[in-house]
């Protein structure tokens, strides 16, 4: 790589992990990951179970802080500034880097309140009614729920709940949305809807998605990072980054044999 392209990369990179290792108590979970996430792109993290994709994802909005005994080494930067700097408030980080979880987790309140809560706690000054409508529209849910905004978020189907969670996440206009296997609890039709939604959201947000579904990664992502795990002497699994590049390249002409084996379905 020439110096020129490196500096170009540096300006475009939105999130940047440099030599990141994550420990849970005494156990190393992810070893020495360096990768750049680019603005307005969808980056997919794929790999077998236990390879540390979700762990790495949680480093990006400091939700690892909430897990007992978790420790992050190395450097994670967001638009050039260190996320783990002492002066950085994790609450503020999470306000700018949103997250959607594997299992839809709407609040046990009305559909309206699910979105209004996010706006209110972050001091939104505009009309909350309008925000609820536009967020639901952008999450492609408005037409299905506009007549029952007062009903509980839990009354929706699984796919609708997940779109509600996405609507809630984009209501506060984060810069990045992290998605931890957002479709793994959904049926194929809902999955398709969410994938279409991600494609539309791409123009406004940077999306990082963890997925077990390789077709999904190849369908929607611009870049793909393949992780693998190896067992240590003590029997723990340590995840590491095998290969990172354009999705097309990863799936059609991977540089590493392990990637080739995984994307062609030979293991994993």
């Amino acid at each position: 790589m020439t110096t020129n392209s490196v500096s170009q990369v540096a300006t475009k990179a939105c999130l940047r992990a440099k030599n990141v290792s994550v420990y849970y108590g005494p156990f190393l979970a992810v070893r020495d990951v360096s990768l750049d996430i680019f603005r307005n792109e969808i980056t997919a993290l794929i790999g077998p179970s236990g390879c540390g994709k979700s762990t790495l994802l949680r480093c990006f909005n400091r939700t690892n802080d909430l897990i007992l005994g978790a420790r992050v080494e190395g450097k994670v930067t967001f638009q050039g500034s260190d996320l783990y700097d002492e002066g950085v408030d994790p609450v503020y980080v999470r306000r700018r880097i949103g997250m959607v979880f594997q299992k839809p987790n709407p609040f046990t309140k009305s559909i309206y309140e699910n979105i209004a809560f996010a706006a209110r706690i972050n001091g939104y000054k505009g009309s909350i009614d309008e925000l609820v409508e536009t967020s639901l529209q952008r999450a492609a849910l408005w037409d299905e729920v506009k007549d029952k905004l007062k009903e509980s978020g839990l009354s929706l189907s699984g796919g609708q709940q997940q779109r509600l969670c996405i609507a809630r996440a984009i209501a506060i206009e984060p810069e990045v949305i992290l998605m931890d296997e957002p479709c793994s609890a959904l049926d194929p039709i809902s999955t398709l809807q969410i994938e279409e939604l991600m494609r539309e959201l791409e123009s406004r947000y940077t999306i990082v998605i963890v997925t077990h579904n390789m077709q999904q990664a190849s369908r929607i992502s611009d870049k793909t990072a393949f992780f693998n795990a190896e067992s240590t002497e003590t029997g723990n699994k340590v995840g590491y980054l095998v290969e990172y590049g354009d999705t097309e390249q990863i799936f059609s002409e991977p540089r590493e044999q392990a990637t080739q084996d995984y994307v062609s379905g030979r293991f994993g």
Binding site: L66, F101, N105, P106, F107, F117
Partner: protein
Amino acid sequence: MTPLSSQSTPLDAGWDIEQKEVLSALGKRKAIDKWFSWLALFAVVFSLFVLVVLLADVIIDGAPVLSWNFFTSFPSRRPADAGIVSALVGTVWVMVLVALFTFPIGVGAGIFLEEFVPDSLIAKAVEINISNLAGVPSIIYGLLGLQVFVRLLFVITQGRSVLSGALTLALLVLPIVIIATRESLRSIPSSLRQAGFALGATRWQVIRSHVFPLALPGILTGVILALSRAIGETAPLITIGALTYIPFLPELSLRGLQSPFTVLPIQIYNWVSRPQTEFHDLAAGAIIVLMVILLMMNATAIYLRNRFQK
């Protein structure tokens, strides 16, 4: 039962058993089954029987004394004039105060321990000690209350007062409330907390808006059950010296907190220990009143639990 048609010889010689043997062994196993269910039924019937006899005895003795006079009269040397008004009012006073003390302190401590304290060695030590406190005999709390509230804090409590009694009982039930609060909070799925945090909510915002409202029915149930334990306690109140003859009601003011008091269990204890059988009937009447209050509290707890459980 007729044997089914025999199968082919099994691979393992250990399974080479005559069908007749299998069926007779099965008969024996079923007999044991039946015996056990009879035994269990007997245990249920026996304990219910004891309960019914106790209830019937109390109601037969106590029902005749339940009159308007019984509820509005002060205790008296003449059984015909004696009533429970001071004990009933005392019980209400003490219970309201116990609820006022235990709800904020117990629930606050429970939320703090469950949601805010990192899981350290100290936190575990505190947790174990709270569980132990819930099992300490109530008379020990009485001794503590006597020394601390009656004697050391005399200036505030004026000795053997409503306030001293309520504080002592509050101490007694605090561990129960703390444990119930923690358990209720623990049953709220962590995905809900994560959802809040992912939106940039602080810990307090997540708890206040999402976790606490869901945990509240469980917490309230715990508080009510703790109160229903406190309402029947006699030993600690005798220890701190609650009086048995109170011919007046505490005035409805802050000064009322410092007046001497009696409660239903103590009134019952006092009447039962008298030689005249008329007083025993009065005791039975007071027991009915106490039991009705208790049942109502427990019913409220069950109602709350079912109402909000989804």
